[in-house]
Amino acid sequence: MANKTALTVRSTRFYNGMLNWLRSPIHLIGLAALLFLAYTIAWPVLKILYTTFLWRQQDVRLTGEANPGHFTLYHWTRVLASDMSMNLFYKPILNSLGVGFAVSALSMLIGCGLAWLVVRTNVPWKKTIAFLAVIPYLLPSWIISQAWLTFFKNDKIGGTTGIMEALFHVSPPDWLSYGFVPIVVSLSIHDSVFFFLIVGAALSSMNSQLEEAASVTGAARWTILRRIVFPLVMPSILSGFILIFTKAISSYGVPALLGTPVNFYMISTMLYSSMRSRLTTEANVLSLTLMLISMLTIYLNQRVVGRRKSFVTVTGKDSARTLTSLGRWRYPAAGTAAVVMILISVVPLLVLLFQSFMLKEGVYSLSNFTAHYWWGGSDPNINTGEKGVLQNNIFMLALKNSLYIAGAASVIAAVIGLILGYVVARGRQSWIGRMVDQVSFLPYLIPGISLAAIYISMFAKPTLIIPALYGTITLLILITVVKELPFTVKAGSASMLQIGKELEEAAQISGASWFTRFRRILLPLNRKSLMSAFLLVFIGAMKEMELIILLITPRTETLTTITFYYAEKGYEQLTNVILMIIIAIVITVYFLAVKFGKADLTQGIGGQ
């Protein structure tokens, strides 16, 4: 020892220090995660950023100054500081932000209210209400907006009279039929299930002794809600807020349908327009602004949640959970909730189902009912000879592919989400935790098409140990996982934040490795969060189309690409049939999860 020089002592110290740092699972997994995310997410985003500063061959269409291959600020000035900017950027971004905040606020009210009702009170019919709450999410969001139009349409877009106008002979004003109000309402109804599930989880694992202590000292029910319940579930609320906010500002179908007649454009509709007009750099600039907004909201989220506050509700001690009694309001509350849910979820579903059996739109007589679209053969007068869905020879292959992709992607995404959620939750102090939080959220905002285009070039040839994945199902699974990662990481971190450290530490002292701790303590505790994440990703993956349409080859067709084909040709009934099939599959999976996975959404995600 005495022979060692100062240099070797220092380098030994440095070496040991580094090993120690690596030994902490947060750092190790965080590092691996960051590398994975760097390749699958950060790299594509940097590429997009890079291209916005270059002249491209296509830019000669816009201006004579174009000099392909050279650096330029033209694209950014065009979007931010030209005579186009008002209509191209500033008005849409204000609209998008407005819609985003309104949708999040409204969904928060609906979702949290419902969650509290189902999880913390003694309202009857809990399982039914919880089940119905998930249904709006199963339907594509444009269906709700179509329903709104059917009801509130006014003269402006002609066609058959809207129901309200027909019944009450009052033409609804423009602001009610189109634009901001219907967009916000449609999106809120569709997305409030996120709040319901995430906040429901947090509420269900809360120890009611906390509330009881307060009420014993004389606090009113409202005060308890405001000063104890609300602060404790804040991370979940914020997670839900961010998810819904970003989803709302990037949604396309609903604003396109309801906003165009009154020139209400959002960034998402402008972005779609740029992509279809082949002005790809303009599209990239717009999507980068969306990403910037999201990074800002996440940063704010991190500041509010803070580094040292504790949101632990699941500790080593046992917890009691008594339900708040609603007294006389039990049945009325249950009744109202059930009726509202049925109106928003079941009615559109039934309408879709009926329409898939109708030969001609709008004719409600028995002779018009046919099973042709389900299993009919080819009839040249109907849909130019397109066969019924079940007779379509690609159908079985597409069904198999859809199930495989959705199943695999949801399992992988849920587990990875939980692991990364662990890093984010436990690593709040370290820069790794915060970085993972930021980077894992980026895919939410990269338009599916951009991500897919970049993935073609990234995975078309083998790179070192990664084989050429283009054209395989594996690539579809990978891209679905990456796209859904934001949700699963947010959900995972929200539920991890609730689990007290002492549970792990007890195991650590007894000698368990990190892997054992995860497998035998954290995983079971987060089982319901895992289940709900799995379910929501499964639903999302089954409905996903835009993301995978570029990567599909004839052998990897899915149900949604068949839907795309039908929608392009305007075969409404066939589209409805496929939608019904997708919904039936999801409901089956949901039932199985409840029966055998013991997922109980009345308890929300997470907790016992």
């Binding site: 590092l31 390749y39 007068n381 040839k461």
Partner: protein, 408 residues
Amino acid sequence: MFISKKKTALVLLTAASAMTIMSACGQDNKSSNTLSNAVPTDAPASSNANNASAPSADPSASPAAESVDELYAKAKEEGKLIVYSTSGRANDAAETFMKQYPGIKVEVSKVKSDEMMDKVTKEQDAGQFNPDVIITKEVSGAVEEEMVMTGRYLKYLPEDIAPMVDEPYRTQAEAYANYVEFRTLFYNKSTYAEAPVTNWWDLTTPEFKGKVYTADPLSSPAFMDLFTTMVINSDDMAAAYKEKFGKDIVLNGTDNAGYEFIQELFDNGLIVLKGSDDVLDAIGKAKSEALGLAVSGDVSKNEEKGWTIAPIYDIKPKTSVPDSGYFFIANKAPHEAAAKLFIRWMMGEKDGSGEGLAPFNEVGSWVPRSDVKTKNDISFEELNLWLFDGDALYKTAPKVRDFWIKQK
């Protein structure tokens, strides 16, 4: 030192991932280099190919057009065919093709035209040459500029069928198109006994204030092409204005008559809807005095959707600009003989009576062959359409789009 085997494995995995990322960066630089090198060398070869339909330099069409039997023999050896198509009509043609020529399996991928451009570009840059036949519409001239001129899509028109093909698709256009659609005005048959307008400028009169619908050109480049063509042919538009109003047109802050037309449409309460179907729903279901801009092909859906709409085929100065469905053979197609055989099949073979032509010869679309009888009321040669000027459209479309955005 106390490192368990698991930790070592994890550290190695991390290091491996790091190397992968660095190599990915390296890989990318290489492919971007090949792209910039590929463009100049390919361009002269393909512009030779584009100038004549049976060039000696173009490998796709040999001097003596191969006979069907020769092609079939070669195609059977190839055994497969991969088609990228924007239209579902390719599927119908594929089914009859496989019955006619057993032994060749056809796989059709349905992709939108702009996505197809991305897909093929990225694939080819990465060294993958998957598709054989490309069936696509134009994207405001971008297909010609970015795919045809760079040699990614190759023209193919068999010599024996060429004489029957109408211009411009025989030699002038970027390729042979098997079917042509266009956007035009529709009116409600139960309200109007005959076409209520004969001149585009009729739409800017007080009679039609707030009664003109269109699909959003911002999300549909094909609709924008109509307006862009009006801007390109603004002299025609100015002449039509004079014909209707008897005086010269006065420009209110716009560059030419085409832009003025767009501005006056907006001033007259133009209503923009999401898509062609929405427009026809708006005017076609109940009694309505309104007119709508929609795709010619939608006439065939009258029965199904419960509409009572009819198109206007003759509008001054010209009705519209063609939206052509072009046929290409992809560069370095792996199954070339099968590709040629399939294209011949879809063209209807030499006499135009082959079954493969049927999906393309529908109401609302026209086949530009002089020996094919159309199902429409008016034949292809009688249509009063502007020429599709890919080059001009490519350069002008973004400016018209910008103008439209500013009008909102």
